[in-house]
């Protein structure tokens, strides 16, 4: 090419090199799909290919799995820290340890540094979900794990190839502790080949432009992404916002788990601080230090700059703090098998905390879980085992311009098929799908309605089978924003002889529930949170929803104060009902209460018995208080004789979350669970 490096890069060469980076990443992805052995890689596309620079800065990635964004630079950081000046051409490293930057043990990373004149240049990292990495159960992930040794083989940063020579003993040791080792070996070599291809392409690029030009272009691209992010942050008002989000429980007790986040925005920088989050849990619902930053970055990027480049420049204006020993930076021996559920919960917390700064982008909350469902047993006809595995999507949140999407993958998730074809299932498994439909009334009510969840009925035709579920938001539903109501929570039940059985005492988390022939397993996924006051929703839109069956006539009356009877809209009754409903909304006065002293993590609010009775509330029930920025604080009601009438007491940091002051009027509504 015509351009010699002269300190400054012209915009054309810059774009051509940028396009070349993207092309390398795309070719890596195609290579992985073509050569991996785990079906979750070549069909589910659960892997990421990225390029990093010598300092471990992320240079380029494609439409990859967002939960892999931060683990990569952290793992490269591990490599630099551990091996520092002792890294040589031909070395390849392997890693999966959540405590030092991994996700769950199934996600294994391969790092393949490329050198020029003794310096590391730009080189590939591949992370991919291996079908099994040992541990207690086939597939390695179980919501009932209680220590990481149950999750499988933990690999700290290791040099698996040294100057081009494979450490066969190390690889054998790893693979001997995994199920179906031949497949894992295939995955390993597929990743290795993918790195080789990338390095070859990068060297071709260097032959054309020279490393000087390429590295300068890389710096420019990172700076550009940084400048873009800074400009968008600077456009937001300065200030601080706090939010807390509760996960249902850890599968061992019924106590909710609190994730607390504080966002501080000053000038063109943002601090995301997770101090105050619960300590690591006894169960599988923990993550290493890289997961919360990935989830936080996903939401901030989505809200501020959804189409912009993802590279290290975009991270620079963000500082993300997690506390070691908390469930967001768990320590040995905490299990991290439920890491995806935690990641979803962090997304919800961030949606709440970002609302203050991006009220025009905020959406109602999401399903908050992967909804892993497994039915395994023996097929009498074929004599062999069968395994049914799905992770059904829910509705997404409403936002200023539109209702949420019905049963669709979240914006922070890769675009995988979360349910299988009915005809494929019935062809190969002793199951009959009796229904696949949208779950009426499940979308959070709002001026813009949350998307609907789905309902799926699966009948067992075999003599028996075992059912396992790992899910969240079965108790505490997705929240609505700016006055929108919550979506219906995820729900899993088994219909047997006219009654519905719960597969466990811990809703959403079950292991090995015995199903019998003729049982109908019913999965219902959550609706997205609503956006805005449901009484402001155009009557015609509510009527159209009723006509289409997205909302029932009862739901229209209850949630929207719109009266439809036998398919006919009663405009007059609707006017009257809406007026009355608005008038009946009475705010409470906010009172500063003493700090809670509970053993558990619940947020509490206090009301006197009369006020409770007037509002049809019971002690112990879950309510939400609407904060200044339109996102609700969830709290459990306690009776307190000392509270004045029509008042609600809240501890100081609860008041801070609402961004309110003592004496302010606050709206409270029950969360029906």
């Amino acid at each position: 090419m015509r351009q010699e490096f002269a300190g400054e890069i012209d915009p054309i060469t810059l774009e051509v090199i940028n396009e070349s980076f993207v092309a390398v990443v795309r070719e890596m992805r195609a290579n992985m799909v073509r050569t991996a052995y785990s079906s979750i890689i070549y069909e589910g596309h659960d892997f990421s290919c990225v390029l990093v620079d010598g300092e471990g800065q992320l240079v380029a990635m494609a439409e990859d799995n967002p939960v892999h964004i931060f683990p990569v630079p952290m793992e490269v950081g591990q490599m630099l820290e551990r091996f520092g000046g002792d890294i040589h051409p031909g070395d390849v490293f392997i890693h999966n340890d959540p405590y030092t930057g991994g996700t769950h043990l199934n996600d294994v990373a391969i790092i393949s540094p490329l050198f020029h004149c003794g310096e590391m240049t730009i080189y590939p990292v591949v992370r991919a979900h291996w079908g099994d990495v040992g541990g207690t159960t086939p597939g390695s992930i179980s919501g009932k794990n209680t220590e990481i040794l149950h999750d499988g083989v933990r690999i700290p940063i290791l040099r698996v190839i040294e100057k081009g020579v494979l450490n066969q003993g190390m690889l054998d040791l790893l693979l001997h502790n995994m199920r179906v080792p031949e497949e894992r070996r295939g995955d390993f070599f597929a990743m290795l080949a993918t790195c080789h291809t990338a390095n070859k392409r990068l060297e071709e690029l260097a032959a054309k432009y020279g490393w000087g030009v390429i590295l300068a272009a890389k710096d420019r691209l990172l700076d550009r992404a940084e400048a873009s992010m800074r400009r968008r942050i600077a456009a937001l008002p300065d200030g601080e916002s706090i939010y807390e989000h509760f996960m249902d429980h850890d599968g061992h007790s019924l106590e909710p788990i609190r994730i607390r986040v504080r966002i501080e925005k000053a000038g063109d920088e943002i601090i995301v601080d997770f101090h105050g989050t619960d300590p690591q849990t006894k169960g599988a619902y923990n993550v290493g230090p890289a997961m919360a930053p990935s989830a936080a970055f996903s939401v901030i990027k989505a809200f501020l700059d959804s189409k912009g480049a993802i590279n290290h420049g975009a991270f620079r204006p963000l500082a993300i703090e997690v506390e070691p020993g908390s469930l967001l930076s768990a320590q040995y021996p905490a299990s991290c098998a439920g890491s995806m559920e935690v990641s979803h919960a962090v997304v919800s917390a961030l949606i709440g905390a970002t609302a203050r700064f991006a009220s025009d982008v905020v959406t109602g909350d999401l399903k908050g879980t992967s909804n892993h469902v497994y039915i395994g047993g023996r097929d009498a006809q074929s004599g062999g085992p069968f395994l049914f595995y799905e992770f059904p999507a829910g509705g997404t949140g409403g936002f200023a311009q539109s209702d949420g999407n019905n049963a669709t993958r979240n914006f922070t998730e890769g675009d995988f098929a979360s349910i299988q074809s009915v005809e494929v299932i019935e062809q190969g498994q002793p199951l009959k799908i009796r229904e696949l439909s949208l779950r009426a009334d499940s979308g959070g009510p709002g001026e813009r309605r949350g998307g609907l969840g789905l309902r799926r009925e699966v009948e067992l035709l075999a003599e028996s089978a075992l059912l396992s579920i790992s899910s969240d938001k079965n108790v505490i539903p997705p929240f609505g924003v700016l006055g929108g109501g919550p979506g219906k929570p995820n729900r899993f039940g088994v219909a047997r002889g006219g009654e519905t059985l719960a597969p466990s005492e811990t809703p959403g988390k079950a292991a090995g529930f015995p199903l019998l022939k003729g049982d109908v397993f019913v999965m219902e996924t959550s609706g997205g949170g609503g956006f805005g006051d449901p009484f402001q929703r155009e009557v015609e839109s509510v009527f159209a929803d009723v006509s289409a069956g997205y909302v029932t006539e009862d739901g229209a009356s209850e949630d929207y104060a719109v009266i439809v009877q036998d398919g006919v809209l009663d405009e007059e009754a609707t006017r009257a009902r809406r007026q009355a409903a608005r008038a009946a909304r009475r705010a409470l006065t906010l009172v500063l209460a003493d700090e809670e002293a509970g053993e558990d993590s619940r947020r509490r609010c206090y009301m006197n018995p009369e006020t409770l009775a007037q509002r049809n509330l019971e002690a112990g029930s879950l309510v939400e208080l609407r904060g200044k920025w339109g996102v609700p604080l969830r709290a459990w009601v306690e009776e307190d004789e000392g509270m004045p009438d029509d008042a609600v007491g809240l501890a100081a940091d609860g008041v801070a979350i609402l961004d309110a002051e003592q004496g302010d009027a606050v709206f409270l509504s029950p969360v029906n669970v």
Binding site: D10, P11, I12, L14, E15, V16, E19, A23, R26, E27, A30, N31, V33, R34, T35, A36, Y37, S39, E63, P66, G186, A193, R224, A227, S228, S298, A302, S306, K307, G308, V361, V362, P392, F399, Q401, S402, N405, N406, A407, T408, F411, T412, D415, F416, A417, S418, I419, S421, V422, E423, V424, E426, Q427, R434, S437, L438, L454, E457, S547, Y550
Partner: protein
């Protein structure tokens, strides 16, 4: 007899007329009018004696546009009880590229709204047994409902109808009586394969397009008859074959790639006549570019397709489309990055150099600034160019970006456009395991030949072919297509239990109706290709394996599968059990094709064709670059670049390190020197 091909493109409608007796080819172009495609079609034929025409083949974008613009018929669905939302839920995927991280993503709603999706108490099982039969009374009730709602088309979508279509057929019989004139689309007829979401989606789209395409081809046929034309009208289909107008109206969903398919079929035919095995077709027009890979003279065909956010399970050529063409606008975003496209200046106002008021710099303007398109060049034959306007547009962008001059800017714009094309070719070649260096680049479309050598160089491809009439090559390709009937049946049989006789019987059952239809259309020469979809037991996706006619093929089917699996995925499991999922047939009725006329002039050098010498910018500026008129180049002539070759509808660039040779039929061959 003579043949006519008419291809409706986004900017121009291209015509080709082939006189079989005189072996004469005539081409022309007229501007396309959106919404009046049929009027333009007829205008193109005005000067011709239609009574002497043997066949008209049409590439149309009416169906594609109707889907992309949401302008299809008011369509309803009747489906199995419990499953009215299959069409809306799908597999819960967004199915729209670059939708991740967008909190305001709005998933496109299905073409059939929920109130028009009605359920019927019926059920078939996976093995084809009918568990619950359709009741006429219930269909009557639904029909009454649909009548009130003004449905113009109905898709009948029942579970497992691929295994037993009885309930769908019965329902259709009732509806024909109950709703006369309403367009019906039966899922098992449109896609006789399993996987309900893809089948239902395709059947619904078929119904959605049905009334519109039925009217469109009906109007065309009527007008042709009125003008004394007795020739049959054929429509190009997405898979590379054509169907008569009546069949096309039954399966309009198969016309989605009707437009770009012509060029690819032309490419296959050219590969045969030029004795080239592997080609990559590169069709660059005004607003977009289509590329397709042809391996062993067969284009890659896929049944896993998506339009908008809707799965489409019909055979389609795997054509990759990039939103960049000659009219694409170059611009600077707020972060200071330079982009080319996807916004296009179209035909009006068109590039700045057209002088119709376009102010923004386009790829065409960049080529004008580089003098690759000369001040006296007549684009599309007629237009007088305004180079000073192109110059001004590029200079202003250069200033915004801090680039020293408009020539550097123009080179940059062309470089970026070339880079986009290179990426899209990498996607269909390298990323699918094919080495582009083993392929010849076939460049056509108005802007293709101008960039072909630059693209080839980036991909280390050493040879480029620019066919005759590159500006009309898609229309030319329409005259290379055969009539193709396809059929498929789902069978599910373990390979170890399969008997070749049973499978042969299955193929025969699929082939007979196709052959009957072709015979009915008066076609005697038949060619039959057979395929089996095979997979590992327990895997979700299968590979399509060609099945030869020779006896004993079943013994080698497994090995063939493993080989292909290994080629695609880099590994295979030779010991693992396999199953056959679908049988497919592709039956062609062979028709007369366009034949390339032999050039009249031969011998002599390129100077006979010299138009002028002017300064043209390649890597460096070449002060006396020769410019030739293509039609005057003698057959067999060969010369070294740099050169520019102009002709009606296109311009070919021959860089200094390339040689050009025009063969006896007038096709131009460019080769990288050394």
């Amino acid at each position: 007899m003579s043949l006519i091909g008419i291809d409706t493109g986004g900017t121009f409608t291209d015509l080709v007329f082939f006189d079989e007796d005189e072996e004469r080819i005539v081409v022309s172009k007229i501007p396309t009018l959106r919404g009046k495609e049929d009027a333009v079609f007829l205008e193109g034929l005005e000067s011709l004696d239609l009574s002497a025409i043997g066949r008209i083949t049409h590439g149309t974008t009416v169906g594609t546009n109707a889907i992309l613009e949401g302008a299809g018929a008011r369509t309803a669905v009747l489906t199995t009880r419990g499953f009215r939302d299959v069409l809306e839920i799908g597999r819960t995927q967004r199915l729209v590229p670059q939708s991740m991280f967008d909190p305001k993503f709005i998933r496109p709603r299905p073409v059939v709204p929920r109130e028009l999706r009605l359920e019927i108490e019926e059920r078939a099982l996976a093995d084809g047994r009918i568990e619950i039969q359709v009741e006429e009374a219930e269909v009557e009730e639904r029909a009454e409902n649909l009548k009130q709602r003004g449905a113009e088309a109905v898709a009948i979508c029942y579970l497992h109808a691929y295994a037993n279509g009885e309930n769908e057929k019965r329902t259709a019989e009732y509806l024909e009586k109950l709703l006369p004139g309403v367009y019906l689309s039966l899922s098992h007829e449109v896609v006789p394969e399993y996987r309900e979401f893809e089948r239902f989606s395709t059947a619904a789209l078929n119904a959605y397009l049905g009334p519109r395409i039925r009217n469109y081809v009906g109007r065309l046929e009527g007008a042709l008859r009125e003008r004394g034309c007795r020739a049959p009208l054929f429509i190009m289909m997405s898979g590379g074959g054509m169907l008569d107008a009546e069949q096309a109206a039954r399966f309009p969903v198969r016309t989605i790639l009707s437009g770009p398919a012509g060029g690819v079929v032309g490419g296959v035919s050219l590969a045969e006549s030029l004795d080239i095995d592997h080609l990559i077709t590169y069709d660059m027009g005004g607003t977009s570019t289509d590329v397709c890979l042809i391996r062993d003279r067969r284009p890659i065909v896929s049944t896993e397709n998506i339009i908008g956010a809707y799965p489409l399970k019909t055979s389609q050529l795997q054509i990759n489309t990039v939103g960049a063409g000659g009219g694409s606008i170059a611009w600077r975003d707020e972060d200071g990055a330079l982009h080319v496209g996807p916004k296009s200046a179209g035909a009006r106002p068109g590039p700045s150099c057209y002088g119709f008021g376009g102010e923004e710099p386009t790829v065409t303007d960049a080529n004008v600034v580089l003098s690759r398109i000369g001040p006296r060049t007549r684009l599309a034959g007629a237009l007088e160019l305004r180079p000073e306007k192109a110059e001004r547009a590029l200079a202003s962008l250069a200033e915004e970006l801090g680039i020293p001059d408009s020539v550097s800017m123009a080179r940059g714009v062309v470089d970026l456009a070339v880079m986009r094309m290179v990426s899209s070719i990498r996607e269909i070649s390298i990323e699918r395991g094919f080495d582009p260096r083993e392929h010849t680049l076939l460049a056509y479309g108005g802007a293709g030949p101008l960039h072909a050598a630059l693209i080839a160089r980036e991909l280390s491809m050493s040879s480029v072919v620019v066919p005759r009439f590159p500006g009309n090559f898609s229309a030319v390709g329409l005259l290379m297509a055969d009539v193709v009937q396809e059929n498929v049946g789902t069978c599910f049989v373990a390979l170890e239990d399969a008997s070749e006789n049973d499978l042969e019987y299955g193929f025969e059952q699929l082939t007979i109706p196709c052959v009957k239809k072709l015979h009915g259309a008066g076609l005697g020469e038949i060619q039959n290709l057979r395929y089996a979809d095979v997979r590992y037991v327990g895997q979700a996706f299968e590979l399509t394996i060609p099945v030869p006619e020779s006896k004993g093929w079943l013994k080698t089917l497994g090995g063939e599968f493993h080989d292909r699996y290994e080629a695609r995925y880099g590994h295979c499991h030779r010991g693992d059990p396999l199953e056959v999922v679908n049988l497919r047939v592709r039956v062609s009725g062979i028709v007369d094709k366009l034949k390339w006329e032999k050039a009249k002039n031969s011998g002599g050098g390129p100077d006979d064709a010299l138009l002028e010498k002017r300064s043209v910018v390649f890597e460096e500026e070449v002060p006396d670059c020769p410019v030739y008129w293509r039609d005057s180049l003698p057959a067999g002539v060969e010369f070294q670049g740099p050169a520019v070759i102009e002709e009606y509808g296109s311009i070919t660039l021959v860089p200094p390190d390339w040689t050009a040779r025009q063969d006896a039929c007038g096709h131009l061959h460019l080769s990288a020197s050394g």
